[in-house]
């Protein structure tokens, strides 16, 4: 009998390989990278070489066809060192590239996709602006047609891999107000007029985050992704997948918290007995496991539904909230169980505790998820 409805032997074989990659290339360095506020650029090439960057992208451009569970387990394994920053940074093409592969012209795909999947170029997605991230339909960065170029003016903020990105997928206003005037452009990192400033954050330290300024940037018209003024749908479709992945990250991070808390509670003795023998602590652990179990059940089911071609938008919104709430709970309890040790830098649960909010805000904040779900439910 199969051990899972969703995972096959092939998935497990892939999981083993990813785990080895993470143990070899990431875990030994993660603390130093987090403290340094960056991880080396070569990691992209290393991940590209073993095909990790190409999972789920078209074969024709150097990727490997994969289902949602390959992508999910890749995310889960990358979360094991307890740094969401490495996942967000190393995989920033996971949100930056799909608009190009899903809607871009063949020429755009040929030009940009292979080098990104090989880890030679870094790709970022820039939607959020200083004036607001939730209200995507009212974004203000403009792209004005000038002959066979667009002239881009405006700014983007909180952009993951923003400082290092060579290729930036940018949401711009090409038309009138509202969602009907939005397009997506591929903008090269070395475009004159593009400047960037780094942002310091509560968590995700090893991932670089930036504000980007576009000041009269000339961008070839061929770099338009899909049709002019039809970018909004692509952005939303991209968000749906991002939310599924963010939910995966949240649940995997919650699992790390649980594992760390169990290990500590077994080891730590207080008043002459291991912590894990205390009912208060045991119940805390079960409560964490219980939430993880529920969130994971929903995650797997929705991953399967999306693989079937369904668009369960409300459900994915609710899942993102379930997952990030689960993570917030587990991080809080894990730090508590570790006591003072949980408050010391270099401990996974301390790091994860600082990463709870970014998952509850990024890719669509909790309140926005509820609004969107409510609308989908016809409320």
């Amino acid at each position: 009998m199969p051990a899972s409805l969703f995972y096959t032997d092939e998935h497990e074989a892939f999981r083993t390989q990813v785990r080895k990659f993470v143990e070899r290339e990431i875990s030994p360095h993660i603390e130093a990278w987090e403290e340094a506020g960056a991880f080396p650029r070569e990691l992209y090439a290393k991940a590209g070489e073993v095909g990790l960057l190409g999972v789920g992208f078209p074969e024709a451009y150097g990727g490997t066809e994969a289902d949602g569970f390959h992508k999910l387990l890749l995310t889960e394994e990358l979360c094991r060192p307890g740094s969401g920053g490495i996942v967000a940074g190393l995989m920033s093409h996971g949100i930056g590239l799909p608009p190009i592969t899903n809607m871009g012209s063949d020429a755009l795909k040929e030009e940009y996709v292979p080098s990104i999947l090989r880890g030679e170029k870094i790709c970022a997605l820039a939607v959020t602006e200083p004036s607001g991230g939730s209200d995507v339909a009212n974004l203000r960065t403009t792209a004005r047609r000038d002959g066979d170029h667009y002239i881009v003016d405006g700014s983007k903020t909180f952009i993951t891999s923003g400082m290092r990105a060579d290729v930036i997928t940018v949401a711009v206003r090409t038309g009138g107000e509202g969602m009907g005037g939005i397009s997506m452009l591929v903008i090269d990192g070395d475009t004159p007029g593009l400047t960037r400033t780094p942002l310091k954050k509560m968590g995700w330290w090893c991932s670089d985050t930036a504000t980007l300024y576009f000041d009269g940037c000339r961008v070839r018209a061929e770099n338009l992704i899909g049709q002019e003024n039809e970018g909004f749908r692509g952005i939303m479709q991209n968000f749906n997948n991002e939310r599924l992945m963010l939910a995966g990250m949240a649940i995997a991070s919650a699992q790390v918290c649980l594992d760390e808390a169990i290990a500590y509670a077994r080891d730590r003795e207080t008043f002459g007995r291991p912590l894990i023998k205390r009912q208060v602590i045991r119940h805390k652990l079960v409560d964490m496991a219980q939430r993880i179990q529920s969130a994971r059940a929903a995650l797997e089911l929705l991953t399967w539904r999306v693989d079937q071609g369904q668009w369960p938008i409300a459900e994915v919104c609710m899942l993102k909230n379930t997952a990030t709430q689960c993570m917030e709970h587990c991080a809080k309890e894990a730090v508590q169980i570790l006591g003072g040790a949980g408050y010391i830098r270099g401990v996974k649960v301390e790091r994860i505790y600082r990463e709870t909010k970014v998952l509850a805000i990024g890719g669509g904040a909790e309140e926005i998820m509820k609004e969107l779900a409510a609308r989908q439910m016809g409320l």
Binding site: D9, A13, T16, Q17, K20, V50, G51, G54
Partner: protein
């Protein structure tokens, strides 16, 4: 050139060992490939390929003695890049090393292979026997515990180095022959084949299989043989009389002073 590589499944060494009825209980074990066999496959791949152009100069066949339905470990090796597989369908847990060696020797002959590359031992039983027994059965030269391998294509030989107590010993074994691999063979420059530039640096350790490799592995040919196809009677001359977990360790003591420690070592532990 055809390289045969042996691979064994073992119970996950990271899992805790279960005991039942005076034996190790593997009924619920997760089976994983033996680590040293991963070094063997990596060695074979480095011998066979031009690391720059990825062209192959030798065929790599992976061979495992295991129940045909449990050959997941072979898929992993095919995913790393071996060309095809041979499974000898038998319950490996019921065979002794000599029976396994006979089966592998049978496959080696049937394939007409030029080189057998094995791990130096399997992590579960740590026997360190199969490679040597196969060499004995086939009357082939053997170089065991390889830490470095250089293919001398002109001399039709392998130059194999290994660490010994007072340094590194190097031998040249004419093909066909047998090599068993130690850990150092997967260091970045341990294997040279005369095709890949000698200064080429591999990543340390056995290579990882990509998702594409894993997908492709399912399409690679795996031949299934029975021991009878190789004229071998699969069995064991060894019977296990019992396996028991080691006694639980008594709790440690915290001593107050060096004097007390010395006294306890002398009177309680009686080691002084």
């Amino acid at each position: 050139m055809k390289i045969l590589v042996t691979v064994k499944r073992i119970p996950d060494p990271d899992a805790s060992v279960k005991f039942a009825n005076g034996a190790v209980d593997t009924s619920s074990a997760k089976w994983v490939p033996n680590e040293f066999d991963q070094y063997a496959v990596e060695t074979a791949l480095r011998l066979a390929e031009d690391a720059k152009s990825k062209k192959r100069h030798a065929e790599i066949v992976v061979c495992s003695v295991c129940p045909a339905a449990q050959r997941q470990h072979i898929t992993t090796f095919l995913a790393m890049g071996a060309d095809r597989g041979v499974v000898v369908d038998a319950d490996d847990t019921a065979l002794d090393s000599q029976a396994v060696a006979k089966l592998i020797a049978g496959v080696f002959k049937k394939e007409g292979a030029d080189l057998l590359v094995c791990g130096k031992l399997s992590q579960d039983t740590e026997g360190n026997e199969v490679g040597q027994r196969v060499a004995g059965l086939l009357d082939l030269p053997i170089a065991s515990f390889a830490g470095g391998v250089t293919w001398d294509q002109d001399g039709k030989a392998m130059v194999v180095s290994r660490e010994v107590d007072d340094g590194v010993e190097t031998k040249k074994v004419p093909l066909p022959s047998v090599i068993t691999c130690d850990l150092r063979v997967v260091l970045p420059q341990s294997v040279k084949n005369g095709v890949t530039p000698d200064d080429y640096t591999y990543n340390e350790g056995p290579r990882l299989a990509s998702l594409r490799g894993i997908t492709m592995a399912k399409r690679k040919k795996v031949e299934q043989l029975k021991p009878a196809d190789l004229d071998v009677e699969a069995g064991s001359a060894i019977s296990n009389t019992g396996v028991n977990p080691p006694p639980a360790r008594a709790a440690g003591q915290i001593v107050e002073s060096v004097e007390q420690l010395v006294e306890k070592l002398a009177t309680e532990a009686k080691v002084l």
